[in-house]
């Protein structure tokens, strides 16, 4: 038989080589662990600062969602709007029983920054939570963050 023949050994060697290359590429893409850590810390600090500056007093401001709009100017939304464009935030506040109460984000549909779809397109999204109490009620606040 002339020319090259693919033997079982060659198939095995090629498979192992392919696996090695694939695992190295995967490892290289996962070495940016510190970025997620920074995002988590940013999220916790953001929630802590927002609570201390009374920006999370959405409850006492009466910012209930009525007909898709919020009937008051919330400081919390202002804070989110002033975040650096590189950091995308999506906040949800719920009642203690888990039912939806309030939502705010800096997702801009008109620009390429912070698109909601980014959060589902392989971009690393971190989630942090804080529980705030107002008027004797407990409100879990969850923040989802990702780089836009």
């Amino acid at each position: 038989m002339s020319g090259f023949t693919i033997t079982l050994d060659a198939v095995l060697a090629l498979t192992i080589a392919g696996l090695l290359v694939a695992s190295t590429a995967k490892l290289l893409s996962e070495t940016d662990i510190g970025q997620d850590e920074q995002l988590v810390k940013y999220g916790y600090d953001f929630l802590a600062a927002a609570e201390k500056s009374d920006a999370l007093d959405i409850v006492s401001q009466g910012c209930y969602k009525v007909n898709e709009t919020y009937p008051c100017t919330e400081r919390f939304r202002e804070l989110i709007d002033r975040l650096p464009l590189s950091i995308c935030i999506n906040t949800t506040m719920r009642f203690q029983d888990g039912t939806f109460y309030y939502h705010a984000d800096n997702v801009k549909y008109a620009t390429n920054k912070c698109r909601e779809s980014d959060a589902f397109a392989g971009v690393s999204v971190v989630s942090v939570s804080r529980v705030i109490t107002r008027d004797g009620m407990v409100f879990p606040v969850t923040l989802r963050l990702w780089y836009g």
Partner: protein, 166 residues
Amino acid sequence: MSKMCSDKKGQLTTLDLIVSSMIFLSIVVMFIWSWGEANAVVMGTEQMNDYRHKAIDLLDILLKTRGMPEHWEDSDNLTNVSSIGLVSEPGVLDRGKLRAFEQMPYQEARRVLGLTHEGYYMELLNERNRTLYTFGRDSGEFITLERPALLDGDFVTFKLGLFEEG
């Protein structure tokens, strides 16, 4: 005649050898090149992660502790200062500490911050993105991180940049 045929068989084997050697060598060259590239990427990422972790730790110390001693800003002798903190309570910046840190000599601040091979540049921005305070040297940062904090009840952004410095 039959002898000539056997000679041709030998030549064919040599051609095979040349082709296979070329293929083998090109694979070896490609492997060495990709190994070098991967190594450079790993080294770069490792250095970047080192800087990032250092910056994360520094931000934690500056924005969550008061420093050591607690009122280090009143200290006349900087050699007594073992740690710098810029807050009166976690996340709430103190103007007295900010001013003291702003006036601290750069090399002295580097020593207290534990930066042996890194230089730093820090900036405090208000809600309208205007600079309130700057610290250190602006030398084109290698890595920049930022955190939210409060100053006099207002939301501010604290930026920290690190770069290589001997």
